[in-house]
């Protein structure tokens, strides 16, 4: 929510001539009120005090355009700047201005209301000569401390050749180097050396709320250089703790609310391509909503699965779906069901399990098929 306040700054930096003539208060109160409208897409307006009814009527009769409104009720972001775009209106003898865009909290709105200019516009039918000016600012939302809200894969036992972690934050994080704040420690509390691929500033989603931590694939993959020299990142049979330092700051400048730790047990590596023929599908319809439960043969990379699983009806239409994971090996796909009782689950051949194995090749085995087949990957199913 955006909070708006008005600050009285008599004779500030505002357009010099206006300010020499202007006053900002009437009987000690600002001529302008800035208020939020949280339940509306009109997030806020700047409103004048009561304007005499006969003047409001004259304004109403003229059906003014933007240039005319802004000639006497002027909102700008700098003394020499143009009029801020927005919508003017009349609200029971008050005049209002709503900016066209969500206000930038760093911007101050310089507001002027000039009766002489209004008189000029209305061909001198007004005797009032006051000019009012003020500064309105839109306060940013209170800064909140970000926190880790989700961690994927949601497993305590992970294959030792795990390829990625995903960390989800409640608010955008800063551009500080993520690897300065994230460590993986072994059971003796010793930090692992170079467990991650270092990507400058990290692998983020657009909103900077999801960080992808890529375990060094050259160490995960058997028999290649880094693996031969540095060894595996995780060893089966050992437990590890991933730690995130609370000193890490969000984009608002506030540090994390608390430290985050996640203990994981490395189990036997998962080396082999997925086989979708081993997936179990069960579909039903409940109150018009189709529910397809899919049990997979490998734990899936959940963010990839969200983008790479599709439902198609027999008319060839791709249906809008919602995908919910019970765990990385079991998910539900929901859709608004109508029509045919038979559908297809389409699988993008680039879909990976948590270890980088796809339906066509194993990440970690030589000699498996590397070129994705052109054949469409699909599983037909019927609704029970």
């Amino acid at each position: 929510m955006i909070h708006i306040k008005t600050n009285i700054k008599k004779g500030g930096l505002w357009s010099l001539l206006c300010f020499l003539l202007a006053v900002s208060t009437v009987n000690g109160q600002s001529f302008f009120t800035a208020k939020t409208l949280p339940q509306s897409d009109r997030y806020g307006t700047i409103t004048t005090r009561l304007v005499p009814e006969d003047i409001v009527r004259l304004i109403e009769e003229r059906n003014l355009n933007f240039d005319e409104w802004s000639s006497f009720f002027y909102v700008q972001t700098s003394p020499s700047g143009p009029a801020v775009l927005g919508a003017y209106g009349i609200e029971t003898n008050h005049l209002s201005f709503t900016p066209k865009f969500l206000p930038d909290p760093n911007i101050k709105y310089l507001v002027t209301f000039s009766y002489p200019k209004l008189a000029e516009l209305l061909s001198g039918q007004i005797e009032e000569t006051s000019i009012y000016s003020d500064v309105a600012s839109f306060e940013p939302p209170e800064a909140t401390q970000p926190e880790v809200i989700s961690f994927i894969p949601k497993l305590h036992d992970v294959p030792a050749n795990l390829l990625r972690f995903y960390v989800y934050f409640s608010a955008p994080m800063s551009l500080q180097n993520p690897y300065d704040f994230i460590t993986i420690e072994d059971k003796n509390g010793k930090a692992l050396v170079d467990p991650f691929v270092i990507v400058p500033e990290g692998l983020w989603n657009i909103d900077h709320t999801r960080l992808t931590l890529l375990l060094h694939p050259g160490r995960v993959k058997q028999g290649v250089g880094p693996n031969m020299t540095l060894g595996d990142v995780l060893l089966a049979g050992n437990s590890y703790t991933l730690k995130i330092d609370p000193a890490w700051k969000g984009s608002s400048g506030e540090p994390l609310k608390e430290a985050f730790t996640q203990t994981i047990n490395a189990t036997n590596p998962l080396r082999g391509a997925m086989n979708i023929n081993n997936w179990a599908l069960k579909a039903k319809v409940n109150n018009g909503i189709g529910i397809l439960t899919v049990v997979t043969d490998h734990p899936l990379d959940q963010p990839l699965a969200q983008r790479m699983l599709f439902l198609r009806n027999m008319e060839g239409q791709i249906l809008p779906v919602q995908i919910n994971f019970e765990n990385p090996e079991q998910l539900q796909i929901l859709w608004r069901h109508q029509g045919s009782q038979e559908l297809e689950l389409l699988i993008d051949p680039r879909l990976e399990d948590v270890c980088g194995n796809t339906p066509h090749y194993a990440f970690d085995l030589e000699g498996t098929e590397r070129t994705p087949s052109q054949e469409e990957l699909k599983i037909k199913f019927k609704i029970e």
């Binding site: 143009p82 801020v84 775009l85 927005g86 911007i107």
Partner: protein, 381 residues
């Protein structure tokens, strides 16, 4: 009686003149999702390419007061001025495209608030966010919003634009849909539209006629990219214009990294897959932004602005005289038709402004974006 006939004749002429814009236009507010590309025709009709909506809108902005201005236009702090209107700071103002109404010389900019997120040299403004505001600048420099509410307009859907869900292969977080329409060029009553489709060969060139009909032809394009040493079909044309070379209408089209290609207009028929002829490689690490045709001393030249290279000037006659074709990998990224690099680093948008000047936006050393005028007298090889 003679006077009445004259009035009647003038009235009929006026009606014909107005309806010649497009009798199919209706008054209302077009449902434009993204103001991705701007282009005017000679009658002052603004064509808006809406990549997200997959459509072209023709808008009559009632901006038809003839200007014979031959002066230049300069605004040294364009983004600052627009920032004040949008209630933000200059570093967040992003200009997506620019076009000049050839009748009034009013300048139109499609604008968004989103430049703070523009961090990759490969991204275009349309990759970052959708432009939602149309700004008008008069030849005297007055800036205002050009409202798209309650205007006369018509529209046509482009067939099979690239699907909204498909991610860009190497631009992180970008969707191909932002390139559904990359440029529009107008030649008489014909519209040429470049972009990406859902076809196996994604690069597309649609042809439509104006006034719009439902008949929009889609051709797919393939070119040999000498700098990459391979045939390419996935990369869209970034900037182009129609031009007659040796009495044959061709599209002169520039692509990312920066091949120049001629495309035979007669082959642009429905469903046809067209191979372009690569006639130049202008350099790598760059994408072309704009291309404008102008005259200096009665002779045609083409000026091209770029994301990373300086202004490039070339003579279309050199293209006509070039009988080769680049079909093998080019070492050093430069080959083919000669060009003249002109000073003009940071020049982004280009548009023919008036008899004497080409208008441009240019990033200055102080970081500000200026609207500047380039003298045509100065622009020759």
């Amino acid at each position: 009686m003679r006077q009445k006939i004259l009035i009647l004749t003038l009235t009929l002429f006026a009606v014909i003149a107005v309806t010649a814009k497009d009798p199919g236009m209706k008054k209302g507010t077009p449902n434009i999702t993204s103001i991705s590309v701007l282009e005017f025709n000679k009658d002052g009709i603004l064509f808006i390419g809406d990549s997200k909506g997959g459509a072209i809108y023709a808008v009559d902005l009632d901006d038809d007061e003839m200007s014979s201005n031959e002066e230049q236009l300069s605004i040294p702090d364009l983004e600052d001025k627009i920032a004040g209107m949008l209630g933000t700071t200059a570093d967040n103002v992003m200009i997506h495209d620019m076009a000049v109404n050839p009748i009034s010389q009013n300048v139109y900019l499609s604008v968004s608030r989103g430049r703070a997120k523009w961090t990759s040299k490969w991204e275009t403004p349309n990759d970052i966010t959708d432009a939602s505001i149309l700004i008008r600048i008069s030849p005297s420099g007055k800036i205002s919003e050009a409202s798209l509410e309650d205007v006369e307009y018509s529209s046509v859907k482009i067939p099979n634009p690239v699907d909204a869900s498909i991610e860009h292969r190497w631009k992180k977080g970008a969707k191909l849909r932002s390139d559904a329409i990359t440029d529009i060029a107008i030649d008489g009553d014909k519209l040429y539209i470049t972009g990406l489709s859902n076809e196996e060969f994604r690069s597309a060139l649609w042809t439509a006629s104006f006034p719009f009909t439902d008949n929009v032809n889609a051709s797919t394009l393939e070119i040999f990219h000498g700098a990459h040493g391979k045939w390419e079909t996935a990369s869209p044309v970034r900037a182009f214009l129609p031009y007659e070379l040796n009495n044959q209408k061709q599209m002169l089209a520039a692509y990312l990294c920066t091949p120049l290609v001629t495309i035979d207009a007669t082959k642009l028929t429905a469903g046809n897959h067209v191979k372009g002829r690569t006639v130049a490689e202008f350099g790598s690490g760059n994408y072309p932004i704009d291309m404008v045709l102008y005259q200096n001393n009665g002779k045609d030249y083409i000026l091209m602005s770029n994301s990373a290279l300086p202004l490039l000037l070339f003579d279309p006659q050199d293209v006509a005289n070039y009988d080769g074709e680049i079909t093998e990998e080019v070492q050093g990224y430069l080959a083919g038709v000669k060009y003249t690099p002109r000073s003009g680093n940071g020049v982004q948008q280009l548009a023919d402004f008036n008899k004497k000047y080409i208008l441009s936006t240019q990033r200055l050393p102080n970081g500000k974006l200026a609207l500047t005028s380039l003298s045509k007298d100065w622009l020759y090889p």
